[in-house]
Amino acid sequence: MAKPATYSWLDEFLDAAENALGAMDLATLQPTSWRHTQPLNAAEWLEWFDRIVQAQKDKAIPFEKLAATLPPDLCREHLFFTLEDLKVARWPKEKRLEVAGFFHELLKAQMEPGDLFGLHGTTKPKLDVKTIMRKKFHTGTPEAARSLGKLFNAAYNLGAALYLDYYMGNAIENYGPYPLGGNRILVIKEMRHLKPLELWPKRTTSADHLRMYSVYENVRFATDLIACHSFYEGDPINGLKAWRLEADGKAVADLAGVSRIMQSVAENGRDQWIEVTQMPEAELIRKANVIRCFIFKPLCDALGLDWKPSRKLLKAAEGKTLADGWKTWKQPKSEKARKAYWRKVWDPRIDFYPDDK
């Protein structure tokens, strides 16, 4: 169907959000979801976040200079989360559009044009693919594909345990597919911030940042708005033709090295999850707020702001429960009405709020 003449970037973003998150069963998110924690202090969160928006404006720092501080997936996801907050806190339309526009500009500054929000299956920041392909790669084998898959599994789980299921974009992102010619594509897996000692001092992960490069042949790869949502068509086990893994910037020499890192990352993920799930509810809510602010640390650092949550932000959620947060949403029972409800909640151009019918 042809796009209407007034179809804007916001419409495209909302389509991408609906595609990626519209049918998500939040019961599978553990130990809770953003719709339980974020409404507890949406107004205070927005006040904290608006410091960033205003500092960029006041200091006139170009978005290109800030882009690396908030990678694509984080821009997309936190735009989405913040759109819900903007409605919960009933911020005026003008401010809603300003905040949404901030994320959009940051995303535009770092992405290849054409599919900013993953609606068409890609997450492609501007990268010098030719330079990457001049690096030394190992020959791909089914054994290598399985080992790398296990490492990714370990990192994904650690990411979910460090940042909670819904903020794990801070750890895991897929980039690609970058066409290489001859039915070959490059997919890059970013696994970063795996040892955030400021948040979790007990972690002993053997590497903080892993970057995996995979060259596939006759395999289709896609993501959606959420860059860790990966989809393959074809045979990614037999279709892996070349691979490279970097741990904290250094190339990993062989599969034994991959396996050693995997074990450390997996054990940290398991132990971290046990720590998270044993937290009392009040502590979990507090930690979710600290994590959310921590994600913006590089951006705050670049703007000369303190990344830590304000006392006001934390205090606003004290004495409240996850169930209190969930009560914010008055989503209808029928699927069609529910879809329309969320679309209107997300759309910053419309004065429709979570408790509207």
Binding site: Q30, F152, Y156, N157, A160, S230
Partner: protein, 108 residues
């Protein structure tokens, strides 16, 4: 073979193996290489078991749920949204998991 469960196939391929119903890290030591990991929904305490599993079957979940994404990455079959896998399947049963159709068959 008798079809015992129908769910949503979220990672293609077929795998045969013995069922191991798990609920958390306490199951890690008894989980054997090549077993079929059966659970309500996977979580990070199961990461090492997931790495040793031949396939994953869950009661709940969708295309972008934790077990689905990670099974695709590891190239093993996955079936989610079976509703009753943890009730119907018992440790030691030999099953065939079809991650494309979402069917789980009892073997023998």
């Amino acid at each position: 073979m008798k079809k015992i469960l129908k769910g949503l196939g979220t990672s293609p391929g077929q795998a045969k193996g013995k069922v191991r119903v798990v609920s958390g890290p306490k199951d890690e030591n008894r989980f054997l290489d090549g077993e079929i990991l059966v659970t309500r929904i996977t979580d990070p305490t199961m990461v090492l078991m997931m790495n040793r599993a031949a396939a994953i079957v869950c009661d709940i979940g969708g295309m972008t749920s934790h077990p689905s994404i990670l099974s695709r990455e590891m190239g093993i079959p996955c079936v989610v949204a079976t509703k009753t896998a943890t009730n119907k399947l018992k440790d030691g049963q030999e099953v065939l998991v079809d991650g494309k159709t979402g069917d789980v068959f009892l073997v023998g």
